[in-house]
Amino acid sequence: MIRLELRGQVSERMVYCSPFFAVIMTLLSGMLIFSFLGVNPTQAIITFFVEPISSIDGIAELCVKATPLVLIAIGLSFCFKANIWNIGAEGQLTIGALAGGGLCLLFFNSSSQFLMPGMLIFGILGGMAWAGIPAFLKIRFGTNEILTSLMLTYIGLLILSYLIHGPWKDPEGQNFPESRLFQDAALLPIILDETRLHLGWIITLICVPVAWMLMTYHLIGFQIRVMGMAPMASNFAGFRGKNIIWISFLISGGLAGLAGTIEVAGPIGQIIPVISPGYGFTAIIVAFLGRLHPIGCLLSGLLMALTYLGGDNAQIELNLPNAVTGVFQGMLLFFLLASDVLVRYRIRIVSFKNKHRNIG
């Protein structure tokens, strides 16, 4: 019989090391899986993790993919730190993209320089509005935010589907369920020539230190952390639980909405039926892999983006199914959770026989 026994003291250093262990274990298990599939494991790892970023273009792609993941993960960190389980970032991203993209479609003739910033702001507001629903329901009726935020994701996706199959369909689009292509004034400027790297990456890089300051040294971050670690102490200090729920939902919704708008105004350039390949869900892994810390989220976001690129590359080069991406992400989360458990507990193997003898 295997038993988990609580360790006396948790090593602070190990808490931060466990993501690295998780990455190493994922790589090793990945190699094992590749060799079972009859692929040279070293070659496969190189194809998966090195080749995609061995060119400027590749690195630019990595940042493009990482942008939404990092933004959403930073937002989610605020919620998770407060012990609020917003898992509806995918929906907030979708509604944010619709709000930002909708502004562009409304002014499709405009070439105003205010259009693109306006879209970003609308995107943030859209995401906030969608995140505000579970916040309101939780405060007013005590509903479980896990259920409401998740269900609202599907509602958001259906709204997207309805709009591009109906009112927002491109009139000259040969009946494809896609919106108009956004005009240049609505698109995020490219910051590195010959690549797709856009302004959104700069916005992300600005968000990281701002979020870090907010979380670590601002009263808002302090309240969020206290509420997550010790809700009674939060009452004792006189912090308002309701306000903290609102703030953390609005921050995460706003950032998810921003990420959505950045996607449609950046690499996509129009509204299409699938705006995100599950960024809102993957960002949950990113947030935890990054220890709910903005800088950690940046690093783990880049890593997770690499699994997307590597998956594409493996599909092309090695004829491996695209599911490999999912396998890698799943393994990463699994090993992270496992190492987190082992940081706090030790494994004891208890002999069954012995136990019986003692009783008798």
Binding site: R7, G8, Q9, M213, Y217, H218, L219, I220, F222, R225, V226, M229, A230, M232, A233, N235, F236, A237, G238, F239, R240, N358, I359
Partner: protein, 512 residues
């Protein structure tokens, strides 16, 4: 009794947990009929030792001898078979079942037969433990519940009875009854291992005391030949200071008032507060005595503003109503609070000391700058707390849960007192705190009253309340009695009030 062979012998028992040695080569000998006290501060290793004897924990090394022969493995089942009974500090009873059913559940199957009913009545009569087997547990008082646990042990004819802090939930009168039972058991040859940190009780009851400190046996003594003070000093290994009360100016008008407050508890199985009136004067310490679970939690929440009263005018400071304000605004009005639970309520366990200082001090100590935490200033404030309240910690960058109970409580008191509150409300100020820190905290409560603050102390510890209070009220079933000047009310009288009995105006009634 002295020349009898020991029933239980512990030889060189050691037990280590990760990072701490709980028991280090402990030797202990208990003889039949002996009431043996195991005395020590929190964390001295008493509980671990008892768990080893009862088989809940296994020792790393050492021998256990029972009636002269060595026992290799002890589990609770084996312990019961040998004749060891234990009454835990926390009861394991089902509220919705009768006394008989509860007893039947905790004993070997062969005893839980049709004779059980009669057995319970016989035993309870024999030892003066009045108990009706048909009553449902939920209708019983805490003292009666404890009797169930004791009877459950006695029905199995134990040779050794272990009692873990049995009196912490009892009124003085109930304690007397329990002691009578224990003495009777002792004369019939049952050995009793009695764990407590209440010194007067041990002097009254026990034949021998073994004193533990930091996992080791440091001393043994005959309690009847010692004073509480001398035993406390053995326990701490240091000299103890006793709080000094000074004559002080007490304001004529009450400063902090609660008027006819009624409040429905927000907790499950909570106690509703009924018509509570408190008048706290500046320069005065008001003690609120009572057995746990009689509305103290609700009272604390209402006084701190964590839960707000429906009638907002019922709480006021200096004639300004504060009943509608939360804890933050009440602090702005000069209040300070120390809740019962240190970790998780008064302090955030995983946060650093300076962050915990910021937690309640950020407004009055101005530790914020444009919404951001002023780290340097917070650290400075924390240093000040540590140095003026003698908190033992390497620096301000350690987490709150790395401090011992007593040190953390001193830190929390320092944090509140340095903000110079006009009204300080504390709940169980020295609960689970070592004797040295407890004395220090009591003195600091007296000092702040000397400086003109109104202090309210809610506590279950009557000794403590008699040591520091000027007036005392008793809370029972959500009712609060009128305060009496402490010199004019006897412990027995307070005990009766705690049990919900209205004594006649004659003070010294004695045991009823």
């Amino acid at each position: 009794m002295i020349d009898k062979k020991p029933i239980l012998e512990l030889l060189e028992i050691s037990k280590a947990y990760p990072g701490v040695i709980a028991n280090n080569r402990v030797n202990l000998e208990i003889k039949p009929g002996q009431i043996h006290a195991l005395l020590g501060e929190n964390g001295a290793g008493k509980s671990t030792l008892v768990k080893i004897i009862y088989g809940v924990q296994r020792c790393d090394s050492g021998k256990i001898k029972w009636e002269g022969s060595e026992v290799s493995q002890i589990t609770p089942q084996i312990a019961r078979k040998l004749g060891i009974g234990m009454v835990f500090q926390h009861f394991s009873l089902f509220d919705a079942m009768t006394v008989e059913e509860n007893i039947a559940l905790g004993i070997p199957a062969n005893l839980a037969n049709e004779n059980l009913y009669q057995n319970i009545i016989d035993i309870s009569e024999k030892y003066g433990l009045r108990l009706d087997p048909c009553r449902y547990v939920q209708t019983l008082s805490v003292g009666e519940r404890q009797r169930i646990e004791v009877v459950r042990c006695l029905i199995q004819n134990p040779k050794l009875l272990i009692m873990d802090e049995p009196t912490s939930v009892l009124t003085p009168q109930e304690v007397d009854k329990l002691f009578k039972t224990l003495r009777r058991l002792s004369t019939q040859g049952v050995a009793i291992l009695y764990i407590s940190h209440k010194l007067q009780e041990i002097i009254d009851l026990c034949h021998v005391a073994t004193i533990m400190r930091a996992g080791e046996v440091v001393d043994t003594c005959i309690p009847s030949e010692e004073s509480p003070r001398s035993m406390a000093e053995m326990m701490m290994g240091a000299n103890l200071m006793t709080p000094k009360k000074n004559e002080r100016m007490i304001s004529e008008k009450p400063y902090f008032c609660v008027n006819n407050l009624n409040h429905q508890s927000t907790m499950e199985n909570g106690i509703d507060l009924k018509d509570i009136t408190i008048q706290a004067h500046k320069g005065e310490i008001l003690g609120v005595a009572g057995i746990a679970g009689n509305g103290q939690n609700e009272l604390m929440e209402i006084l701190s503003g964590e839960v707000r009263a429906s009638d907002t005018s019922s709480v006021s400071i200096d004639q300004v109503s504060v009943g509608g304000l939360g804890p933050r605004k009440r602090r702005e009005n000069g209040m300070g609070f120390v809740p019962e639970e240190r970790l998780g309520h008064g302090a955030v366990p995983e946060m650093l000391l300076w962050e915990n200082a910021f937690l309640s001090g950020y407004q009055s100590m101005k530790l914020m700058f444009n919404g951001f935490m002023n780290v340097a200033k917070s650290r400075e404030y924390t240093e000040k707390i540590i140095s003026s309240f003698k908190v033992k910690t390497p620096n301000v960058n350690v987490t709150a849960n790395s401090l011992s109970g007593g040190n953390l409580q001193k830190f929390i008191f320092g944090r509140e007192i340095l903000q110079d509150p006009k009204v300080l409300i504390v709940f169980q100020p020295t609960w689970g705190v070592d004797a040295g820190s407890a004395a220090y905290i009591r003195q600091s409560l007296i000092n702040i009253a000397d400086r003109g603050a109104a202090v309210i102390v809610i506590s279950q510890d009557l000794e403590e309340l008699y040591e520091i209070s000027d007036k005392i009220s008793v809370i029972c079933e959500g009712n609060l009695t009128k305060p009496k000047i402490i010199e004019n009310i006897s412990v027995e009288h307070v005990g009766l009030l705690m049990a919900g009995i209205k004594p006649l105006e004659n003070d010294d009634l004695g045991d009823q």
